[in-house]
Symmetry: C2
C-alpha cells in the first residue's frame, strides 16, 4: 500500500536534520551496492535534500557530483554554500563529509518544477510489461555481490537487456527496466536522483562484471513524476583507457521524460 | 599555418597566470556569444587550466560547471580547492570570480589521458566533407547577434542541420558540423571543453531562436584528440517548462570519441 512521503523508507533513509544550525544525515547501510559502499544516487539524494533546505526553490533541477571517496554508513555532516539566487533558479554547493573528511561535493541548482506538457520530447522506448520483466532481486548480480539497495528499490529488467543474468550478455551495453520504490511510495525529484544511478552497470551487457565506481555524476530533473512505475534506460557510449560513461533517461508512467543523467566511471577491476 | 599551443589564439585567450600564489586570467571580450557575454565553453577551459596547475595530473577528464551569472571580459581570479588525489585521478573545485563575485563554480577531475583504442564505441555520424558544409561566419545567426567566438573557432555546419540559416529549420533539434581552432592550432583537452559548447543552439533547428543561457554544463574528455577537424554533434532531447537540455559528442579526425557534454539551459527569451 502506498505510503506518504514522510514515512517512506526512502524519505527516512535520506532525511537531513538541522541541529544548532548545522545539517546532518544518518546514512543507512542498507542502501549499499557492495560491502560497506553506499549507492551514489542515494548519496546524491541526501545532498539534494540539504540544498533545498536553504533555497527559495523546492526542487533540485540539476545536480553535478564529484565522488571524492567511497562512502559507508553512519552520520555525515552537510555543508551548504549558497550561490546566486533569483526568481527562476538558485545555485548552491553541498559538501557531504564523514565527519571531517569530504566524501562528496555537489553543485546544485534548485527551481520549481511543474508537470506541464513538453514542447519537444524524444520517444519512449518500448519494453515488455512489468510482469514480463526480471526482478533484479532474483537475478544473480555476479560473484561477491551484496546489493542492499535492491531491497528498497524495485527494479524489473527488460529481458532483452538481462542476458548477463543467465550467462549470455546481449553484447550491447544497455540496461532497461521498470523502477519504483519498493514500499510503494510515489517518486519525487529526490527519488529521481536515486533512479538515475540505480540499474546494474550497463557494461555487464558486454561481459564487464564488477563494481564501476562513479567519478562524476550529473543528474537533470526535468518534471514532477506521475505516480507509478518509471521506465529507466542506461547506456554506455564509450569504454576506453579504464574509463566508461553511462547515460540514463527516466520516464514516468505517463511517458514523460522526468530525469536524465550522465556519469564518468572507472571500468570494473 | 598551424601554430604551437604556446602561441595559439586560444592558448593566449584562456591562459591562467600565477601572481604571489594567486591565479588570474584576463578574459578576452572577443570570445563572446552576445554583447558582453562570453562563451561558456571558453570560461570552462580557463577554469580547467587553473585546475591542472595544482594537480598531479595534466588533463581535465570531467568538468561540471554551474554558471552563476553571465560573465564579461576583464581580469578574473581563480580559486582552486583541492579534493582527494590519487595515482589515477584527482578532484578539485575551481571558482572563477570577477573580481570578488563568483561567476562560475566548477568541479574538476584531472587524470592522464591516452590515445589507446576504445574497447567499445558508438558509430560516428556521417556528414558531408568540410568544403560542402556551411561556415557559421557567413550564416546569419539571427537578429541582434554578435558572436565573436566565430572568429576564433571555425565551424562548418552540415547543411542538413543548417536549414534555420535560410529560414527553413529542419524540425529536428540537432546541429552537426566540423570544428577546429581558426588559427590552425591543434585541439587539446582544453579546446575540447570549448568545442563541447560551441555550435549554435540546437533548438534553432526547431525555430526557437535567441540566446539559451547555460545553467549547468558537464564535459567529459575521453581521449587526446588527433590533429585536424573535429566532428561535433549537438542534440536537444526535451524542451519543457522553460528548460532545455543539450547533449554534445565530439569525435576527432580519426573518428575517435574524444569528448561528450550535457547541459541544462533556459529556453530563448
Amino acid at each position: 500500500m502506498p505510503q506518504d512521503d514522510a514515512t517512506s523508507q526512502f524519505a527516512r533513509a535520506s532525511a537531513v536534520r538541522t541541529e544548532d544550525g548545522a545539517l546532518f544525515a544518518d546514512l543507512d547501510g542498507g542502501w549499499n551496492v557492495g560491502p560497506g559502499v553506499l549507492n551514489g544516487g542515494y548519496l546524491l539524494a541526501v545532498a539534494a535534500r540539504a540544498a533545498v533546505i536553504g533555497s527559495p526553490h523546492p526542487h533540485p533541477v540539476a545536480l553535478s557530483a564529484s565522488y571524492l571517496r567511497a562512502t559507508g554508513p553512519g552520520e555525515v555532516e552537510l555543508f551548504v554554500t549558497p550561490g546566486t539566487a533569483g526568481r527562476t533558479l538558485a545555485h548552491s554547493q553541498v559538501l557531504l563529509a564523514d565527519p571531517d573528511t569530504p566524501n562528496l561535493s555537489v553543485q546544485v541548482t534548485t527551481a520549481t518544477l511543474g508537470d506541464t506538457a513538453a514542447d519537444h520530447a524524444v520517444p519512449v522506448p518500448s519494453i515488455p510489461p512489468v510482469d514480463d520483466c526480471l526482478p533484479t532481486r532474483t537475478a544473480s548480480e555476479g560473484p561477491g555481490s551484496e546489493v542492499g539497495i535492491r531491497e528498497f528499490v524495485d527494479v524489473r529488467l527488460d529481458p532483452s537487456t538481462a542476458g548477463w543474468a543467465r550467462g549470455a550478455p546481449s553484447g550491447d551495453p544497455v540496461m532497461r527496466g521498470w523502477v519504483r520504490l519498493a514500499d510503494g511510495a510515489p517518486a519525487d525529484p529526490f527519488a529521481l536522483a536515486l533512479f538515475a544511478d540505480v540499474l546494474p552497470p550497463s557494461v555487464w551487457s558486454i561481459g564487464m562484471f564488477g563494481w564501476t565506481p562513479t567519478v562524476q555524476l550529473q543528474v537533470l530533473v526535468r518534471a514532477l513524476p506521475a505516480p507509478g512505475w518509471c521506465l529507466v534506460e542506461a547506456r554506455t557510449n564509450e569504454v576506453a583507457g579504464g574509463w566508461i560513461d553511462e547515460d540514463y533517461r527516466v520516464w514516468d508512467s505517463t511517458g514523460r521524460l522526468v530525469a536524465q543523467s550522465r556519469q564518468l566511471a572507472r571500468t570494473p577491476r
